[in-house]
Symmetry: D3
Subunit: 242 residues, 6 copies
């Protein structure tokens, strides 16, 4: 079974990190393929970045369909392009925010999201609403570290930890959701310090997609997620429409 994990930005180092997280969730007989789109932004920190990432994501879904992928993970916490991806894909498609937030609401009653830049908090809250989790999400906090500095900056783990502690002590969080795929490698460290479950969306989404696909469950081919009507496209090609 092939699970395709798509890094929506074009930074290869981050694809590598994402692939490693996804592999934690891949049992025997599951092949994880982490891919980088050919077009898009170097990181996603605005609605603009997110919009420009979607055509590249969809190209990777189209390529995955050609390769017989059994399911997909979209590894950016804004869950970009998920609806369009589900129209193209046969297997399940899951964004890491949806996976992490749903898992958090199974493991506790009050989760906090700790994310990168303050300006992305609105999108996180919008997803909380979309997934119906407003009564379970007690806060969305930002550590004000740009995505691509997460690995580079030595102070990053400390600042993330400080926000997690504030989420626990001031907001009453009983579970932490990491709000960026680039934070995945901090999971164990944070959980040990905090005494709380800390959820990385990449591995969680991979586990869920694998589990659904193994049961033969696929994206509905009827209604809103039916394959898109065939038509002409100008200037942007994602491979599906050909």
């Amino acid at each position: 079974m092939l699970i395709r994990v798509i890094n929506p930005n074009t930074t290869q180092a981050m694809t590598k990190l994402i692939g490693e997280s996804a592999c934690l969730a891949a049992g025997p007989g599951v092949q994880v393929e982490a891919v980088t789109p050919a077009m898009g932004p170097a990181s996603i920190e605005s609605h603009y970045d997110e919009a420009l990432s979607v055509p590249g994501i969809l190209s990777e879904i189209a390529a995955g369909e050609a390769a017989g992928a059994a399911g997909y993970v979209i590894a950016c916490f804004g869950d970009p392009g998920v609806d369009a991806a589900r129209e193209l894909a046969t297997g399940p498609v899951l964004g890491i925010a949806e996976a992490a937030m749903r898992a958090a609401s199974i493991l506790g009653r009050a989760f906090s999201v700790v994310t990168t830049l303050d300006r992305t908090r609105g999108r996180a809250r919008e997803l909380v609403d979309r997934y119906g989790l407003r009564s379970t999400c007690v806060s969305v906090r930002a550590c004000e570290i740009p995505v691509l500095d997460l690995e580079a900056k030595p102070c990053a783990p400390d600042r993330i930890l400080a926000e997690c502690r504030a989420a626990r002590d001031d907001d009453g969080a009983d579970v932490i959701v990491l709000g960026c795929a680039g934070m995945a490698n901090l999971c164990t460290l944070l959980s040990a310090d905090l005494g709380l479950p800390v959820i990385d969306g990449v591995s969680t989404a991979t586990a869920m997609v694998t589990g659904l696909a193994a049961l033969g469950l696929h994206t509905s081919r009827r209604g809103e997620y039916a394959p898109p009507p065939v038509k002409a496209y100008t200037g942007l090609l994602c491979g599906f429409e050909q």
Copy 2:
């Protein structure tokens, strides 16, 4: 890894059916143990039945903790006792309604629940609200077959199928959620006829709990799901308090 799947009613034939469904989701290295409580109702078709099933469920959680279970599935669509079970359990605990409804909202945009008796629809709608899925659930339909007649009555599959078709054609459902653990063996048949994903909560919950447990994620030990304060109990013993 041991996953304990608890049939909240005392009917052994149903435990056997539930165990078979759960095993569909158990990969290599996972042992599924389907158990029947020593006390409780023969089937669950009212709030009263549900209330009386909970002490038996909690005894099975306490026994599972003693046996080192890595996670639990509560295999009744009313998700009875889930909050209390999470207070007792180290690993993840998941009811089949929560698992099935969350999966349905990943695979489509408009799911219907098809359940047994009309009088249980209120509880199903209450769970839809609890899990924040009101905008994704388009209907809750009942086939008016008592739980223990699901296997016995030859007409049961036809009546369930009729409700599923009505959900698809009249309510616009693109995914079907089976509203009773006793319907699990109809999944393939229904899905083939309807051309829609049909979700059985038992196998789906087993897959999700296994996936979360494999990542080392557990129920939060802080806040609302912390272990209950120690105190005296009269007349009802579940094994935890000893």
Copy 3:
């Protein structure tokens, strides 16, 4: 007219206190009977405690039906077993959280709940949602005094008063709801100090149930609250099913 007021825990001293509160609301011609279940926890401070209290509550409802009770009050702020109790009862059944919160939303526009342990705040918020009062409830505060220490600890009134003042001054509460049946005797003291209405759920629920019953209104016998289907139960007997 007989109103049965059920203390869901097994502590007799608390039943006595509850009975005194209920009697404040019983006019001429109304007999209040405060009862203690034969099984259950000594106090209710977790989902586990709440679950184990329900069979005892239901036994008291069944006994009340045999005795011709006109209505019931369930005197724990978690409103345990209310749905199941309504299936068994002919007259109205009311939990003290529902009664107090509905009264608070008549007397003001911004109520706070002041309860015992922090870990029970989640259940209180869940009830706020169930009763549709999220826009009227401005906070749920805990004084961190265990239920059975409320009477014993000399500092209890001061700590409760401090939380009430914070609710008024910091959260903008214009009405206080006492979040435990064991606080009822503090009503007058708190109200005088705060200059706010302070609501005890036991007396309020008793007044409401009495009022509804006097008008001949009863629990609906159709749909979700119809009497439970007859079936076999193992190991747990509440008297109804016999």
Copy 4:
């Protein structure tokens, strides 16, 4: 104890009917005074009518304060002027829609409102939202009989009954809420035919206000319901501002 029941329209025959309903709920020691305002519309069937009824209602509240009333019922299903009335009143103030809907959500899980004109259904739904009861209210139905024809038209009971039956059979209602004070005398007839609790807001509100007042509970004097600031008014005098 004096309870003032205000008929918001100027039709004396309706005041008489309302007074009779209220008296059903008045136990020993309670005096019910049903009053007709000196200004306002002959009946309330639009937002315009409702707006013009409010000054007359407020004059009756001001007069009630002078007379030492312990509480108030506003006997129109649109609950006109309730917020302003609470600013003027010492005791509890309750509209009949709020009373009836809250009672309905105690007695069942799915109530229907059966009201007069179709054009008033929007206001009823708005009140359902204000009181947080959207998940309990399954429909708002109109029998298209003008308010003042309810008593005059021989066909009125049959048309009201027909809508109640449709609410029960088509919408799944388990409780009926009568959507006009002028329907109160039909309660017993309808309930016997339907096999459901049928709630008249006038008697229910009277019972609730009496119960709260007897416990010494009053409208909060702090925050939004504090007495209005003193100032000049031109052309409209309600007695309070003098």
Copy 5:
């Protein structure tokens, strides 16, 4: 095209200020007429004031219909009488709270209302809910200056500015909505200091009503906003019913 802008209070100086704000939004061919009702309160700072302002507002709508007005603005932040006014008016009717809040949700993602007295915040929040903007409104703040002191008190601009800064810095507001028609002249000053859009409802509502009327759009004459049924009124005459 004639747009009638109604000051719901009887203070002429405020009508003048409102007229000046409205004229900012009136392009060529649009005549703005700011009017003061003959009856009502000197300012609106309670539910009581609001209730007493409505008959005067409706008289001005009726007079506007006689004069052929193309649309109406109700220039008080509580949007008093809007539903009744829409029943009387042919053209669009808009309150300044609705206009300002809808504009704020177009220009940003997180608006704060800064209003006069603390006791009016409840009404502002109620309107936020009515207009469906709860997820966009991050706070409602009061500067505790009475309406008629806004112009007189030299310290008023500073106190309003202080609340706006707190909204921006503590609540994360990206747009400010002024919560009183009497603050309109501060718009430019505040916006320059804060670096945020600051919205005055009077000019915004005038622009929206003018735009809708210019497209030939009118209030629906069917359903809830159809003209009120003809009937007798006692003691209060607004000109419509004659």
Copy 6:
């Protein structure tokens, strides 16, 4: 003042139609420029189409900024790319669904959307939720005519009219919102037949944007809509990032 109206699809005939609608709302001194993106789908009938339209829309916003546009209309009923566009634009940006739905909730109390294909109804409902209008939107209906057939098919007006009538008569709609920019020319015809306001989003959005821009109001430059961080983009260029 220059208002840029962007047709998100690449079909020139539709741009012409959109430009004509927008000009209806442009008063003296306002120049409307209707533009067609250089890349994107021929029409928008799926999430996939919508995703592929966004880069083209953003290029037109970037070009508009260079040309000094005072505001923007995005003329597709899915409001594609609105958040990203607001990050790039100085003036107000408005999608036609948002404009039409907000106008509908001013003119009536119960609007219906009548759109093209059934599969797009989910997106319309999602926008209803985003704009907080769930209690005002009574239905979303589809006439099952593809976007590009709206002008070509002679039967199109009749099918659209049939759905509008059903919305009025079966769903109780008092206002109709046209769910596609390609229906704008039917407004007068439909309104005359139905006796209801019928709202075209293109002209309404143009009027609103013009009105806001004329008052000097702009998109907030702080928080979520601040200009995007500068970074590298691969393969997709919209002109902003250069």
